[in-house]
Symmetry: C2
Subunit: 279 residues, 2 copies
């Protein structure tokens, strides 16, 4: 507010970019499309990350990726050309291990082989909870049945789901995500899973804490309307959706979640943000 | 009502047996436990079916079995020693084929190989709906993903689920049933499946029609509290649960569904019914 007259802060998109202190990026579908091998970078996204890093904005990456350890996942992104280090990336598995320790839980794991090393130091004997991640092909009937039998055999069954996504896009098409199997086990065992990862507020909060920011100072950019955009908004952040990855035109007519902005891709989002901050 | 004083009809279990005209039996978990080969008959059940057939009660079998055609399924029961013929057995697949014809639908099938011959005469080109049955090991990630892609590609996705059971018991333990995968696809595609089979009232009604009975004249006996007992009660029938098959002690403390009676097994149920009718 200046002396003598009122100036309303522009809280809309992209005007809000002026008051931002940090940006959180989703990864798959925003930076790259997964698929055979390392997948492919989405055009303009490598440059967009570089520009954000050169700006005065803080930058973190928040992902529900659970097909690889954080180290291997970040190494893949680096091979694709991204300037990203492991300490900037927040996936669900490390957060889960903290919860297991806190509550003395021993997990039965239904996760991708690539994620197993994250749980190397965790006691998995005589399991008293189940953890499911994006196990993809490992979501066989037999493996799901095995997880079901562990849960149904527990007096107080506890199911952790690393994210609750419905599907994601790989280079050869849409793929079912962990949330679908979470719903399957919830129904089979009459329970409610605990979600670790987006859109859990605890998970977003841990990223904000790491940046030392309050939610209104940060913007989330993702391709998932419910988990990225809706989840961030639920925490008090702005949420912008990109028209890449799993984006579908019907997202822009969703009955309950409305993005603060919708852009063609990350490159356009970053251009709008940085332009706004220059003026 | 006798002259001079009122006699209340006993509508409780097993008193209600006096006024019954027909009995409907669930099959798996009541007559036999499935498993390797043909599975095994539950002790006393072969004799119990014989006694019901010798009585003046009508008898039908109502099953959500979708791992084999009706003919092969009935042949298996006959090999186990049961006096049952195909015309007495009501499974979901024949009912589904009638619906497909009525609504000009061409299905993508995610069902057990054994059920495929039921759909031999059905046009499956360029599918505009998906049918899932108890596909068991065929519920691979790839097959579920394929069904998902068909649904998500349709303007008005239609999913038929042959039953909505959570799990059933085979000789080597509990197995996930089709309902679990129905919930998975419902969540992935934001839709509500149409259930064909128990506990759908339409399905129970078709069995009652075949007997020419009204619902209050019939009793359903099953091991599944929700789909057999609750489904039958919802239609106005009595529902009795057996403590065989997928029965769990917690069923007797269920918050919303209460069986009219609970018996150790089919033999005991039939003994109680026939004794009651003699006096």
């Amino acid at each position: 507010m200046r002396r003598g007259h009122f100036v309303m802060a522009d809280t809309g998109w992209p005007g809000c970019a002026k008051s931002l202190k940090g940006v959180i990026l989703d990864m798959c579908g925003v930076l790259y499309d997964s698929g055979e091998g390392d997948g492919v970078a989405i055009p303009g996204s490598i440059e967009a990350v570089r520009k954000l890093k050169e700006s005065d904005l803080q930058l973190r990456f928040c992902t529900n990726e659970t097909q690889a350890t954080r180290e291997r996942f970040v190494a893949k992104l680096q091979r694709l050309g991204f300037d990203i280090s492991a300490s900037e990336v927040f996936p669900p598995a490390p957060a889960t291990i903290a919860v297991l320790k806190e509550r003395s839980l021993r997990p039965h794991l239904l996760v991708h082989d690539g994620l197993l090393p994250e749980f190397d130091g965790v006691d998995k004997t005589n399991p008293n909870c189940v953890i499911i991640g994006d196990a993809a092909e490992h979501f066989s009937y037999q493996n799901l049945n095995e997880a079901f039998r562990v849960l149904i055999g527990l007096e107080k069954p506890v199911l952790f789901s690393l994210g609750q996504g419905k599907y994601y896009k790989e280079t050869d098409g849409l793929k079912l995500d962990v949330g679908v199997y979470m719903k399957a086990l919830e129904y089979a065992c009459d329970l409610k899973a605990e979600v670790i990862g987006k859109p859990s507020p605890t998970f977003f909060q841990s990223v904000l804490s790491d940046m030392g920011l309050q939610s209104h100072e940060a913007l989330m950019i993702g391709d998932d309307l419910l988990n990225d955009v809706g989840g961030a908004q639920h925490c008090g952040m702005k949420g912008v959706q990109v028209r890449t990855g799993k984006y579908r035109p019907s997202d822009e007519r969703h009955p309950t979640v409305k993005a603060d902005g919708t852009v063609d891709n990350l490159a356009q989002a970053v251009e709008l943000i940085l332009n706004q901050r220059r003026h």
